[in-house]
């Protein structure tokens, strides 16, 4: 399958926005929102490489030159992994038991399937364009209400040019047991993708969504957004598997809004990309809501990973826990700035942040920065901790005294280091695939 022949190298301008909107015959309110986002994009300056926010990611590498705002997908769709370009087939997860599967190839969604049973219960998993047509009111009320296009320049671009996308809707009281899979596969080198995942979980519902980004080309741009609305008592689990190739610049803003007693578990698996800059926020607006954020990151070569997280405790008795584990080798760099904000209204809340960073080479680096901002007078518990360092020589020695050679001891330690997070990934097959990526990065 050759994508380049059909690729339209639209110029990056306002016309591209109106053309995209027309392509999908969008309602006027959506066109207006896109144009508003475009204005926000135009008004925002390119990031200042010297600013605090860009201390850990090289803003001088950002460029919009030659950007293709829309890269069409094959029109006939894809109904089997064999129909995908060979390097992208694993994202299909053949044999995996899934509630729904949605595959975006370049800018468009080429496959979607949902079990009849869930469909009968009112569950919706579809691309965002279809959702706009078929669930216009819900999308209108929710789209870009958690993540705003005016937050920074590339989100403006995202708001103006998002395409494909995934809409997950779970009605009140419905529990979706198997994971929903949303794969974003970049087949065309140099493409710019703007994937958008919108999850609406109605009261007392539950759902797990696995988003996976993969590419086989030689670079491109991804500017994505994830919005999660968890109503009272809803449980949302979200896994982000980031496996872009080593030429991709990857930007993503993810935000979950939690009502009373809702819970959100976010698992970030950061493996690929040249430059990754992610913002992940959870707003615990409802009393008793809780959050767990887990991260596993493995950088090699010249990869950079730059994460900003916020655990915003707004209502009383909210709880949050963050555990990020990173291994960096070669010249790879990891940065994490994590804010716990316990507001005055969030009495009796509890928060924790833990960042563990293992450095396997002298040139690798990690800069974890936990930040506590506590305005409430009666916090139940607030703690944070961060470590950076090489493999513990005493642990290696201990294992050696049991006959285990140093190289194997080191591998066991690295596997063990990741196990705590990896074991909680809600899919055995995905765990296995992530392990395979880790192995290949370790040269096994």
């Amino acid at each position: 399958m050759t994508q380049t022949e059909t690729t339209v190298r639209d110029a990056l301008n306002r016309d591209a926005v109106t053309a995209l909107s027309a392509r999908y015959s969008e309602p006027d309110w959506l066109l207006q929102r896109r144009l508003e986002a475009w204005r926000a994009f135009e008004a925002a300056p390119m990031p200042d490489p010297l600013s605090e926010e860009w201390h850990h990611s090289d803003a001088t590498k950002l460029t919009l030159d030659g950007l293709a705002p829309y890269t069409p997908s094959p029109p006939d769709g894809v109904d089997s992994p064999q129909a995908l370009p060979s390097g992208l087939r694993p994202v299909w997860d053949e044999g995996e038991e899934l509630a729904a599967r949605l595959i975006q190839l370049d800018s468009g969604v080429v496959h979607r399937s949902l079990s009849d049973e869930l469909s009968g219960k009112g569950v919706i998993v579809t691309d965002l364009h279809t959702a706009v047509r078929e669930q216009e009111e819900i999308v209108r009320q929710r789209l870009h209400t958690a993540v705003m296009p005016d937050e920074w320049k590339y989100l403006g671009l995202h708001g103006a040019l998002w395409s494909g996308g995934c809409f997950v809707y779970v009605p009140q009281g419905v529990e979706v047991e198997l994971p929903v899979k949303y794969a974003v596969a970049m087949a065309t080198p140099g493409a710019a993708l703007f994937p958008h995942l919108l999850i609406v979980a109605e009261p007392n519902s539950s759902v797990t969504v696995i988003q996976e980004g993969v590419s086989t080309g030689s670079g491109g741009l991804v500017s994505g957004a994830v919005e999660v609305h968890a109503a009272q008592g809803a449980h949302v689990r979200f896994v982000d598997v980031q496996r872009w190739d080593s030429g991709v610049q990857n930007f993503s803003t993810m935000r979950a809004l939690l009502d009373k007693d809702a819970s959100f578990q976010g698992i970030l698996l950061g493996l690929g990309g040249e430059m990754t800059k992610v913002r992940l926020d959870v707003r615990m607006n409802g009393e008793g809501s809780n959050t767990e954020l887990l991260g596993l990151f493995f950088g090699d070569g010249d990869q950079t990973f730059d994460y900003y997280t916020r655990q915003d405790h707004i209502a009383p008795r909210t709880e949050s826990d963050l555990l990020f584990k990173a291994v960096m080798t070669d010249r790879a760099a990891m940065a994490w700035n994590g804010v716990v904000d316990v507001q005055k209204t969030a009495s009796q809340s509890a928060a924790n942040q833990t960042s563990r960073n293992l450095l396997l080479s002298d040139k690798a680096s990690a800069a974890p920065t936990p930040i506590l901002e506590i305005a409430a007078y009666d916090v139940a518990r607030c703690s944070h901790g961060a470590t950076v360092g090489p493999v513990d020589e005493e642990q290696i020695f201990y294992m050696q005294t049991r006959g285990i050679a140093p190289d194997e001891a080191k591998e066991l330690l690295i596997d063990g280091f990741f196990a705590e997070v990896l074991e909680r990934v809600p899919s055995q097959r995905l765990q296995k695939r992530v392990r395979a990526v880790l192995d290949s990065k370790l040269g096994r």
Partner: protein, 270 residues
């Protein structure tokens, strides 16, 4: 010291000098362990007992500056710690380090594979493991936990003996395996050691206190002081130390050090 049986001793330390960060700690230790013997190595704090254990295993911080360490007549000084372990040396640590993330069961299998040179079939491994857990009164859940992570003092010591039992070393060094144990845990650990000692397993039992020697009867008792073995005798020597403490040793071998040691509180504990 000579080997009275005429056969080759299993383990010999010859005139061993060891420094830590250029500070000499061991100043000429000699030791001959014949097959199947249990040697107790006693001595006041700071005499060099743990240094000897670590040097024998090849810890990189402990530099052998003189002397030899022979296992079955082969000098192990040039071998890495893992090679020494595969050849049959074992150290039960005084303070076993925890390794979060590494599951005990997997760790034990990797270690056994390394020691035996081949993987043990799962069923055989399981059977051996269950028997040993039973012997040491360890909860089977234990193997699903991370290595030494969140273990109580007693659990850590039993885990060390468990590893010794599975790895079947020729010579096991037990570094204060008795310390920090209540009497029941001590009896369990002692029973484990007694069940395993024999022609196949020789033991160097390092202890500050005489207590464990009530349960594990040594063949030979040595007293290490100021980096040298200053006395060697039968089990009765341990009894003597029990009654009199280490003061008489200190007086006899380093009169000038009495004041300093007494001041540090290390003198009269045994």
């Amino acid at each position: 010291m000579t080997d009275g049986t005429g056969t080759q001793p299993i383990f010999v330390v010859e005139d061993l000098h060891v420094s830590v960060e250029d500070k000499p700690i061991l100043k000429g230790v000699d030791l001959v362990v014949n097959q199947g013997e249990v040697h107790a190595l006693m001595g006041p704090n700071g005499s060099g007992k743990s240094t000897l254990a670590n040097a024998i295993m090849g810890h990189p911080r402990y530099k052998v500056t003189q002397g030899r360490i022979l296992l079955r007549g082969q000098d192990v000084r040039k071998l890495t710690p893992d090679q020494r372990a595969r050849d049959g040396l074992f150290l039960a640590f005084q303070y076993p380090i925890s390794i979060p993330g590494v599951v005990m069961g997997n760790f034990l299998r990797s270690a056994m594979k390394a020691r035996r040179g081949e993987d043990l079939p799962v069923r055989e491994f399981r059977k051996l493991l269950d028997e040993t857990l039973d012997l040491l009164k360890i909860d089977p859940e234990f193997v699903r936990r991370y290595v030494n992570d969140g273990f109580s003092g007693g659990e850590k010591k039993r885990a060390e003996v468990l590893q010794m039992a599975l790895l079947k070393p020729d010579l096991a060094i037990l570094d204060e395996t008795d310390s920090g144990l209540d009497i029941d845990a001590l009896k369990t650990v002692a029973e484990g050691i007694n069940a395993l000692r024999g022609p196949e397993l020789s033991v160097l039992l390092i202890t500050h206190y005489q207590r464990i020697l009530n349960y594990v009867k040594p063949d030979i008792v040595h007293v290490l002081y100021d980096g040298r073995i200053v006395k060697t005798g039968g089990p009765e020597l341990a009894g003597e130390l029990e009654k009199q403490g280490y003061d008489w040793i200190i007086k006899e071998f380093a009169p000038e050090a009495v004041g300093a040691l007494a001041a540090s509180g290390a003198g009269g504990e045994a």
